[in-house]
């Protein structure tokens, strides 16, 4: 533990604190989902996600060889450990259950997925319909005359609990299909790797990935808006360095065509701008809707490309045809008709499950998560207005339990006409925790803790984090061999490029990226797509075979190496590096 941060560390729930017996277990840092130290409130994402993931694998679908994933927090970092099942009798028992449960899902995938989308949209509508937070001086007369009988302060708690409940529920939806989806994809992936030992991960991904997946839509909307700006002849309003607000003002002033473009913007925003600039696991991963800066930053670039005659439309039919040919050509290379029959079965299932694998993120990690954090932000604004802490954002320094306590404190004070106790309690705590987060961010954190296992055959860990025994060996040897200037990772997107490295450790640093920079980050995020037109290449610490980053990088034709384990700590900001995306090697020049 970093000295001086003990109290901030103690804020995390007792069940997430490392205990002595945990030393016997193997833990690895989940830098893929939680690359930065997490504030006390944001930890709700870890526990909600692991609750839902574990239920799915342990008790709903009964994955034969794995139960759920435990998590622990140290220095604001989330470490996780799998619970593999090794007893053959237990595996056999769970296998029988699995075939009754998971196979039913596979067999009824389309119907269940259609039902899932309805459930998910209902959940989103519910979250959108949560009442505004109000604490009037006196209960409104109409409430009294209507005989409501329940005062406004109660609705604070009610709304908070419903907000939290919705978030936990959303994570169950998130994992309803996910492990099964990844598993079906991995089945095909493993087959390809066996049949074609040297096939690249990206090629397998290209055979399966959807062409019109939701994840591409936000960026496509930007291209559409750029095209409309040119068509409506308002493109001159979009200049580098002009803020989104100023552009909108000047379009409002520009009359008919300006307003028409703004209407187009409104259509795009709902729902496609409900996309985070991060993975949605941190409260400060704001959506394009909350902050138009990221979205607008890419418009001048797109506009100038359109004016230069470039078509920014993704050629769906051509991409579809390419995918079909790729599948056909690899099929032809197989050694026998027997193999071809197995290949057909596996890719059929992979295609069946993949729309969910690609599509759920937009609804869960982006759209819903935005609604959730923004609702919590409203509580922050209310508490801040009552002097609990200086700003609305400070609310995220409280755990979700503490936040409920603060709300009850305010409810009680409001009802009694006395002063809440929070203003005397929270400001100091908030300051202390902010300082601890800043301190923790300065310290590197080990990729793994505890005894390293001989094999990692927990399918959840292999699938979701791409972590295998070989990954660990690479990390461990990288830690010992600091003098070499080569960093190895997975070849994610073809091509070789040299340029200055820009280390981006948090989403807020994205604006530092200059034209021609090479993005070096802990995890590349597909929603950073707009910055991909600026950068020359991308390197990440973490990235499994399912990484969308690779797909986006290929869309933009950018060399990318993912899963290096150590790039952000070994490369210095501004250093010239060479990214060889075909070989998966980054060289410090």
């Amino acid at each position: 533990m970093v000295p001086g941060t003990e109290r901030a560390q103690a804020a995390y729930p007792y069940y997430t604190q490392f205990a002595p017996e945990d030393d016997q277990r193997f833990w690895f840092y989940n830098s893929m989902h939680f690359p930065e130290p997490m504030s006390a409130f944001d930890m709700v994402t870890a526990e909600a996600a692991y609750c839902a993931l574990g239920s799915s694998s342990t008790r709903v679908h009964c994955i034969p060889t794995t139960l759920g994933i435990d998590h622990r927090i140290i220095n604001g970092r989330v470490y996780i450990g799998g619970n593999a099942v090794s007893d053959p009798a237990e595996i056999a028992r769970r296998t029988e259950e699995f075939t009754k449960r998971a196979f039913y899902y596979y067999a009824n995938w389309e119907r269940l997925y259609a039902q899932w989308r309805e459930k998910m949209m209902m959940l989103i509508r519910d979250a959108q319909a949560l009442p505004k937070l109000e604490l009037p001086e006196l209960e409104p007369l109409e409430h009294v005359h209507a005989g409501r009988g329940v005062a406004s302060n109660h609705y604070l708690l009610d709304t908070y609990q419903r907000t939290l409940e919705g978030y936990y529920r959303m994570w169950h939806h998130h994992f309803e299909f996910l492990l099964l989806g990844y598993g079906a994809y991995m089945t095909f992936f493993a087959f390809c790797k066996k049949a074609f030992p040297e096939i690249s991960d990206q090629t397998v991904a290209r055979m399966v990935a959807g062409i019109e997946a939701e994840i591409f839509r936000p960026d496509e909307e930007l291209r559409r808006l750029a095209r409309r700006a040119v068509e409506l002849r308002v493109d001159a309003k979009f200049q580098e360095g002009v803020s989104a607000q100023d552009i909108i003002r000047s379009l409002e002033a520009a009359g008919g065509s300006g307003r028409e473009w703004l209407e187009e913007l409104a259509t795009s925003r709902d729902p496609w701008f409900n996309i985070n600039v991060g993975d949605g696991f941190y409260h400060y991963h704001r959506s394009w809707n909350d902050d138009l800066t990221m979205a607008f930053a890419s418009l001048p670039g797109y506009i100038s490309r359109i004016k230069a005659g470039e078509s920014l439309e993704r050629p769906f039919e051509k991409l579809q045809e390419e995918r079909r040919r790729l599948i056909e050509d690899y099929r032809d290379l197989l050694g026998s008709d027997e193999e071809r029959a197995a290949y057909d079965q596996m890719i059929t299932l992979a295609h069946r499950v993949f729309p969910y694998v690609e599509g759920h993120k937009f609804y869960c990690e982006h759209w819903y998560t935005n609604l959730f954090f923004n609702k919590i932000r409203e509580f922050g604004a209310l508490l801040s207005a009552h002097g609990f802490f200086p700003g609305a954002e400070d609310v995220f320094q409280l755990t979700h339990y503490e936040l409920e306590a603060a709300i009850i404190d305010l409810m009680t004070a409001w009802s009694n006409g006395s002063k809440p106790r929070g203003p005397a309690h929270w400001p100091k705590v908030v300051a202390e925790r902010r300082a601890a987060l800043a301190e923790w961010a300065k310290h590197d954190t080990p990729p793994a803790l505890g005894p390293v296992p001989d094999v990692i055959d927990d399918p959840a860990i292999v699938m979701l984090w791409g972590i295998t025994r070989e990954t660990l060996d690479t990390w461990l040897s990288a830690a010992g061999a600091g003098d070499t200037n080569e960093i190895k990772g997975f070849a994610a997107s073809n091509g070789v490029v040299e340029g200055p490295a820009r280390i981006v450790k948090s989403v807020e640093e994205i604006s530092r990226l200059q034209q021609g920079d090479i993005l070096v980050c802990q995890i590349t995020n597909p929603t950073w797509a707009p910055v991909f037109q600026k950068i020359a290449g991308a390197v990440s610490d973490i990235g499994g075979s399912m990484s969308h980053a690779a797909i986006v990088a290929r869309e933009y034709g950018l060399p990318a190496v993912v899963g290096t384990g150590t790039a952000t700590s070994r490369i210095k900001d501004g250093q010239r590096i060479r990214v060889d995306g075909g070989r998966g090697v980054v060289t410090i020049l």
Binding site: P64, I91, Y106, F196, E198, T203, L333, M346, P459, A491
Partner: protein, 350 residues
């Protein structure tokens, strides 16, 4: 250019002609027929050899003596075949054979760009596709005139009676009467770089990648293992270059002025430079796919890039044998329930 009794042009032959043009000759003809660029040339057929050996050993006594040798008796083989080789190299060619080869050589040198040729033995043995045997026969590069070419044809024939070849045949018990050899005479490519490629990964047997190895100068330096070549692995379908190993290529084989080849140092600035560009690699990929499709099986190919024209030419293509022999069990079979496949992921280590 019409062929004759002792001469066949590449354009007129294919794999089925192997009994009289040998494996190499048949392969070059087949490639040319498939629309693949090969250096132009002709084959001195086994008929020429037969005619020659008839003159040299009409009663078959010399060959009977060879056949009587024991595979283990290296000294005996050495003594017997040494004399035979001397006789082959010294005996004048029968007039009709000589005139037909010289005529074809003349036509080749006039028609082609190069006036130098490579003279390569082209074995007819059943095992001609066996690399270990094919390697036993001789190849003479950069032969600058007709007289030398004629001499080298006889050297190729003589190599049939080398210590290695004879002891190999004796081990296998092949009858000496049936032994014959064709000889390929083809325009010499002044190669800027050359090498080999495999349409199936030599290391993993992967059918979806092409491994290309190449170095500066003539391919003999790569084939002979005298230089560590650059190495690339390219996706057969995707064209993705997944491996680029640019090695320090210290030495290259270049034509010697007086004929033959010489090993000379690679200029400093080229040693660590890739000997092929990406477009050339992609062109080689296209050729490899075409050849593989033509034969319907994985191929090991020798290629060269012409220094003057930049053209890519193939010098040889033979079926891959190592991995093809290993293919046995399929990676997976169709399952009665297609869902059962997921158990390979969820069911633990099988």
């Amino acid at each position: 250019m019409a062929g004759s009794e002792h001469i066949s042009w590449f354009a007129d032959i294919g794999l089925l002609d192997r009994p009289r043009v040998g494996g190499k000759g048949g392969s070059l003809g087949e490639l040319q027929r498939a629309g693949i660029a090969v250096p132009p040339g002709f084959v001195v057929t086994t008929a020429a050899f037969d005619r020659f050996i008839q003159v040299l050993d009409g009663d078959g006594q010399a060959r009977a003596a060879v056949e009587a040798l024991s595979a283990d008796d290296l000294e005996g083989i050495s003594a017997c075949t040494g004399k035979l080789r001397e006789r082959i190299e010294a005996t004048p060619l029968p007039e009709d054979v000589l005139s037909q080869i010289a005529g074809a050589h003349d036509a080749l040198c006039k028609g082609g760009n190069a006036s130098t040729v490579a003279v390569r033995s082209s074995a007819t043995t059943e095992d001609a596709s066996d690399a270990s045997f094919a390697g036993l026969q001789d190849t003479y590069l950069w032969v600058t005139n007709a007289a030398d070419a004629l001499q080298r044809v006889r050297s190729c024939w003589a190599s049939l009676y080398s210590l290695e070849s004879v002891s190999y045949r004796r081990k296998r018990g092949f009858p000496e009467q049936g032994v014959a050899m064709a000889v390929v005479v083809q325009s010499m490519v002044d190669a800027r770089c050359a090498g080999v490629m495999f349409t199936r990964s030599p290391t993993t047997g992967d059918r979806s990648v092409i491994t290309i190895e190449g170095s500066w100068g003539l391919g003999s330096a790569v084939v002979g293992g005298e230089v560590t070549p650059d190495r690339w692995v390219i996706g057969k379908i995707t064209g993705e270059i997944s491996v680029r190993e640019i090695s320090d290529k210290m030495m290259q084989h270049l034509p010697a002025l007086a004929g033959g080849i010489q090993a000379i140092p690679v200029p400093e600035e080229l040693r660590k430079s890739a000997c092929l560009t990406d477009p050339e690699l992609q062109a080689l990929r296209g050729i490899a796919r075409k050849v593989e499709r033509h034969y319907g099986r994985a191929q090991d190919i020798e290629w060269a890039v012409d220094r003057h024209t930049g053209a890519i030419l193939l010098l040889q293509s033979r079926p891959e044998t190592v991995w093809s022999a290993k293919d046995a069990a399929p990676v997976a079979r169709a399952a009665d329930n297609p869902l059962a496949h997921v158990m390979s992921i969820f069911g633990g280590r099988q």
